[in-house]
C-alpha cells in the first residue's frame, strides 16, 4: 500500500508556525514547547513525537507555541529569544535506566544537555542556549522533560515500544508544567475535531513508522565500531 502523500497545498497554522511579520514580536509573552531530536534515529525522535501528539490532541491558546525543532540548532534562534518560558522535550542520556522519565529546570538544563551528549543535535542545542545567554535574551523560565532512550542506532526506525509508551505520559507532564508554572489549563480537542498537523504528513509518527521498508530491503545494522564504544561507555 502506498502511504498517503502529503497534499499539494499546506494549511498555515499561525500558532504553531509563527508568522515572521507579526508573531515573533510577541516572544516575550510566549511559552514555547519545543521537541528536538532526529526522527530518523529511533528514540532520538521522542521529543518531536511528544509535541506532535500534543498538537493533535489539545486546543492551544495563543500564548503557547508548539514546535518540531528537529535538529535545527541555530535556525531555532529567532524562536527562542526573550521567551516568557521554554519547555524542551528531548531524549537525553541522563545515565538512568532506559525509558526513565527525568526532569530538570533552570540553570541545570544547559548543564544537563552538555554533560553527556549522545547526539549531534545536542551539541548544537547547547550552543544555542549559550548564545542566548551571551546576547542577554535567555528565556525567563526554562525546563527540560526528557526520557532516557532505549536505542538510537536504528536508522530509519521509529520509537522503541518502551519509549513510545511514554509519549502520552510526558505530554501530560508538559501540561502539568504549564498549569503549575504558568497557570494555564489546556483542554483536549473535541471528539472528531481535526486540527492542522505540526509536520508534513509523510513524517508523522504513524506514516513514518508504518511505511518503513522491511529489514531485507533496508539493512538495520549501524556502525559496529561506534556501537561497541557505546556499550563500553555504559
Amino acid at each position: 500500500m502506498l502511504s498517503k502523500a502529503s497534499s499539494p497545498y499546506f494549511g498555515h497554522n499561525s500558532f504553531m508556525f509563527p508568522d515572521p511579520l507579526t508573531d515573533l514580536a510577541s516572544n516575550d509573552t510566549t511559552i514555547l514547547v519545543l521537541g528536538i531530536g532526529n526522527i530518523l534515529w529511533a528514540d532520538e525522535g521522542f521529543g518531536v513525537r511528544v509535541v506532535e501528539c500534543l498538537a493533535r490532541d489539545y486546543v492551544w491558546p495563543a500564548s503557547v507555541r508548539l514546535m518540531d525543532g528537529g535538529t535545527q540548532g541555530l535556525f531555532l534562534l529567532p524562536y527562542l529569544e526573550n521567551l516568557a518560558g521554554l519547555i524542551i522535550v528531548d531524549a537525553i542520556d541522563f545515565g538512568l535506566p532506559p525509558a526513565t522519565i527525568h526532569e530538570v529546570h533552570g540553570a541545570d538544563v544547559p548543564a544537563t544537555i552538555g554533560a553527556r551528549k549522545m547526539s549531534l543535535h545536542q551539541t548544537g542545542f547547547q550552543e544555542v542556549l549559550a548564545l542566548l545567554d551571551l546576547r542577554g535574551c535567555s528565556p525567563r523560565r526554562l525546563s527540560l522533560v526528557g526520557v532516557q532512550p532505549v536505542t538510537l542506532d536504528d536508522y530509519g526506525g521509529g520509537l522503541t515500544p518502551a519509549v513510545a509508551a511514554l509519549v502520552e505520559k510526558v505530554g501530560l507532564r508538559v501540561l502539568d508544567l504549564l498549569r503549575q508554572d504558568y497557570g494555564l489549563d489546556i483542554a483536549p480537542v473535541e471528539l472528531g475535531q481535526q486540527l492542522p498537523g505540526l509536520m508534513a504528513e509523510a513524517v508523522t509518527q504513524a506514516a513514518y513508522e508504518s511505511g518503513r521498508p522491511d529489514a531485507e530491503t533496508a539493512c538495520r545494522h549501524g556502525d559496529e565500531r561506534l556501537l561497541a564504544r557505546l556499550k563500553d561507555a555504559s
Partner: protein
C-alpha cells in the same frame, strides 16, 4: 614509506602520526590522521568518516512525492538543499515543468539558504581558526574602530564606544567562566596571527552575524509556509499568490509579504557587502604568508552548475557547471550526470561492499548500492572498538569515493568560483579581481587569482563572494517575480501529474543543486509509483572521501599535504583547512557519537 599517487601527490607515512578525533566545529563527526616529518610538515593525511548513513535504504518503497520530507531530516544545516534536490529529481523523472513563479521562488529560497549557511559557517564554525577571542580582550577599541572604518567605511556600526561595549560584554562572559562557545580553542597557539584590534572586530561581527542570520531565514517561513522544516512540493511551491488577499497571518503571498521579503534581501546584501566580504579580506591579509591548503583545487574542480536565469536553459546558469582537470583553466569539460561513465562512486576503501567481486569498480548513482561492510586492515593499531591508528591501505571510512571519469575532484564555492572565473563570468571576474586588489593592497603582496584562489584562504574568500553574489541574484529574482505576477501569472504549482496513475511504470531522474558545500545530486528510480532506488551524492562525500581503487586521494587529504604545523599537539592548521571546506559529515555519513567529548583528542605516536 613514500607513495606517489596517480593524481600527483606524494604520501609519506614514515613520520610521527597525529590523530585528531573527533574534529570539532563541524556538522557530524570525522577523524583525521596525519604523518608529520621532522620539521612538523604534513606528509600524509587520512580522512575517516566515523558515522554510518543509510538514508538511501530507508527511502525504498516510499512515495516519491514524500522523499523531500525525509531528506530534509538528514541533518540540521542542509535541510533545504536536500529537499530541493529531491523535488527536482522527482520532477525530472516524471517530466514535470514547474510554473515560472515557483521556479523564481525556489531560486530565492535556495539563495537564502546559501547566504545564511555561508555567513553562519564563517562566523560560527570557521572564524575561530583565524581569530582569537581571548586576544580580543586586549584590544584598544579605538584601534578597532579605525580598522573597521578603513576596511569598510559604509558599515554604520564602527564607533569606539560600540566596540568597547562588545568587549565589556565578552569580558564578563569570559570572567564568569562561561567560555562556552569559545572554550575549545588553542588560544595560546602561535598559529594565531591577528592583532588584538582585528580579533575584537571579528568577534563583534560574529555577534552581528547572529543577530542578522535569524532575519534572513524569515523568507523561508513566508515561501515555505513554516520554519523550521519549510514545506516543499513536487510540481511547484506550496504557497499561493493572492495580491488582493487579506493581511492576516498565514495568508497567501501578497504585496505586504513580498515587500517584507525584499527588505530582508536588501539587508542581506548590505551585510555581505559591508561586513562579511571585507572581514574575510582583512583577516586573510594578516595571513598573507599562510598560503597552504589548496590541494586538489589547484588541479581538479567540479560543479553541476546552477542559478539559471531561464528555466529551461542550462547555459543561462549564473554559476556555470563543468569540470577542470590538471589545472587547465582554459579547457572546461562538460559534466553529464546521466552518463553512467561520468559520476561514479567507489568503495574500495569505504566500509561498504558492492558484492560479487565488484569491490574496485565504480557505480553510477542510478545503479548505486548502499550495503555496509565494516572491516579493519591488518595494519590497524589498537582494538576494533578503540582504534589508535587506522590502516589506510584497507577500508577506512564510512564515506564513499565519488569520481568523475575516474578523477578525484574538489567541489564547493571555490570550485564554482574557479569555474566561473575561468569562464569569464563578468560578475564573478569583477568580484574576484576587486577582492584580490584589496587583499594585495592590505597585505603588500601581488598575488594573482591562480595563486590566491587554490588555498585555504581562497576557499574561504570564494564562499564569502558567493554569499554576496547570491544576495545580488536574489534582488534580480525578486524583480523578475514581481514583474511576472504583475503580468497576471499567479500559478505556483503544476499538479497535472500529482496522481501516480498518470506516471509511467518506470522512471528515473536526477536533481542537482549548487548546495552551500558544493555540487549536490540526488538520483532516483521510480517503479510502480514507489521509490525503487535513491542515491544522494553529497558535496562532503566528494571532498572527504577516502582513496579510490587506483590510489587517487580526495580533496581533504590533498589539502593538508605540505602544511607546516606550529605545534602538532594543537592542530589549528588541520582544523583551519578542513573547516574551510565547511564539512557536513552528518550528510556524508550519519550516526551519533556515543561520547560527549567536545575538545578533540589529539594523540601523537
Amino acid at each position: 614509506m613514500t607513495v606517489q599517487t596517480p593524481n600527483g601527490f606524494t604520501l609519506d607515512n614514515s613520520g610521527r602520526r597525529i590523530v585528531v578525533d573527533p574534529l570539532t566545529r563541524i556538522e557530524g563527526h570525522m577523524r583525521c590522521e596525519v604523518n608529520v616529518d621532522a620539521d612538523n610538515v604534513i606528509r600524509n593525511a587520512v580522512s575517516t568518516g566515523t558515522m554510518w548513513r543509510g538514508l538511501e535504504v530507508i527511502l525504498k518503497g516510499r512515495d516519491p512525492r514524500d522523499a523531500w520530507a525525509f531528506v530534509e531530516r538528514i541533518c540540521g544545516v542542509c535541510t533545504g538543499c536536500h529537499a530541493l534536490a529531491s523535488v527536482r529529481a522527482v520532477e525530472d523523472a516524471l517530466d514535470i515543468r514547474i510554473p515560472y513563479n515557483a521556479f523564481l521562488i525556489r531560486q530565492i529560497m535556495a539563495k537564502v539558504l546559501a547566504w545564511h549557511d555561508h555567513v553562519v559557517h564563517f562566523y560560527h564554525l570557521h572564524a575561530l581558526d583565524w581569530v582569537n577571542p581571548v586576544n580580543a580582550l586586549k584590544a584598544d577599541p579605538r584601534a578597532t574602530s579605525a580598522l573597521q572604518q578603513s576596511i569598510s567605511p559604509n558599515h554604520p556600526l564602527s564607533s569606539p564606544g560600540y566596540f568597547r561595549d562588545v568587549q565589556n560584554r565578552l569580558k564578563k562572559f569570559v570572567e564568569s567562566g562561561q567560555l562556552g562557545i569559545f572554550k575549545n580553542g588553542y588560544w595560546d597557539s602561535a598559529a594565531y596571527l591577528l592583532p588584538p584590534e582585528a580579533d575584537l572586530m571579528a568577534v563583534t561581527h560574529y555577534l552581528e552575524a547572529l543577530d542578522f542570520q535569524k532575519e534572513i531565514v524569515k523568507i523561508h517561513t513566508i515561501f515555505g509556509g513554516k520554519n523550521p522544516h519549510p514545506n516543499y512540493l513536487v510540481g511547484g511551491v506550496p504557497c499561493a499568490i493572492n495580491m488582493e488577499g487579506d493581511m492576516a497571518a498565514g495568508a497567501p503571498l501578497n504585496m505586504e509579504r513580498l515587500n517584507f521579503v525584499k527588505q530582508k534581501i536588501d539587508e542581506a546584501f548590505e551585510f555581505s557587502k559591508n561586513v562579511y566580504v571585507p572581514d574575510v579580506i582583512a583577516i586573510g591579509s594578516f595571513y598573507k604568508n599562510w598560503l597552504y591548503g589548496g590541494g586538489l583545487s589547484a588541479t581538479n574542480v567540479l560543479d553541476y552548475g546552477d542559478y539559471p536565469t531561464s528555466q529551461d536553459d542550462k547555459s543561462s546558469d549564473r554559476l556555470p557547471g563543468g569540470v577542470i582537470l590538471d589545472g587547465k583553466w582554459e579547457e572546461i569539460l562538460p559534466v553529464d550526470p546521466r552518463n553512467p561513465e561520468e559520476v561514479q562512486e567507489f568503495v574500495t576503501h569505504s566500509w561498504y561492499t558492492y558484492g560479487g567481486g565488484r569491490e574496485d569498480i565504480g557505480l553510477h548513482p542510478w545503479d548505486g548500492v548502499t550495503d555496509s561492510h565494516f572491516e579493519l586492515g591488518a595494519g590497524t593499531k589498537g582494538t576494533r572498538t578503540n582504534i589508535e591508528e587506522i590502516d589506510e591501505n584497507a577500508k577506512y571510512s564510512w564515506v564513499k569515493s565519488p569520481r568523475w571519469r575516474g578523477n578525484a575532484c574538489e567541489v564547493g564555492p571555490l570550485s564554482r568560483y574557479i569555474l566561473a572565473y575561468a569562464k569569464n563570468v563578468p560578475y564573478v571576474k569583477a568580484q574576484v579581481d576587486d577582492a584580490l586588489d584589496q587583499f594585495n593592497h592590505l597585505a603588500g603582496t601581488s598575488l594573482t587569482a591562480r595563486q590566491a584562489l587554490p588555498t585555504t584562504i581562497g576557499r574561504t574568500l570564494a564562499r564569502a563572494l558567493e554569499a554576496h553574489y547570491c544576495a545580488q541574484m536574489m534582488v534580480d529574482d525578486y524583480d523578475a517575480l514581481i514583474a511576472n505576477i504583475r503580468n497576471g501569472d499567479l500559478a505556483t504549482a503544476n499538479v497535472a501529474k500529482w496522481d501516480p496513475a498518470t506516471w509511467p511504470k518506470e522512471a528515473k531522474g536526477v536533481g542537482l543543486v549548487a548546495a552551500p558545500r558544493g555540487g549536490l545530486g540526488h538520483w532516483i528510480k521510480i517503479r510502480d509509483g514507489r521509490i525503487e532506488n535513491y542515491q544522494c551524492v553529497v558535496p562532503s562525500t566528494w571532498n572527504s572521501g577516502p582513496r579510490d581503487a587506483k590510489g587517487n586521494i580526495g580533496a581533504f587529504e590533498a589539502s593538508l599535504l605540505g602544511t607546516p604545523m606550529v605545534n602538532p599537539e594543537q592542530p589549528v592548521e588541520i582544523l583551519r583547512t578542513l573547516h574551510s571546506f565547511d564539512p557536513c559529515m552528518a550528510c556524508a555519513t550519519h550516526v551519533m557519537s556515543p561520547d560527549g567529548a567536545e575538545l578533540a583528542r589529539v594523540t601523537i605516536r
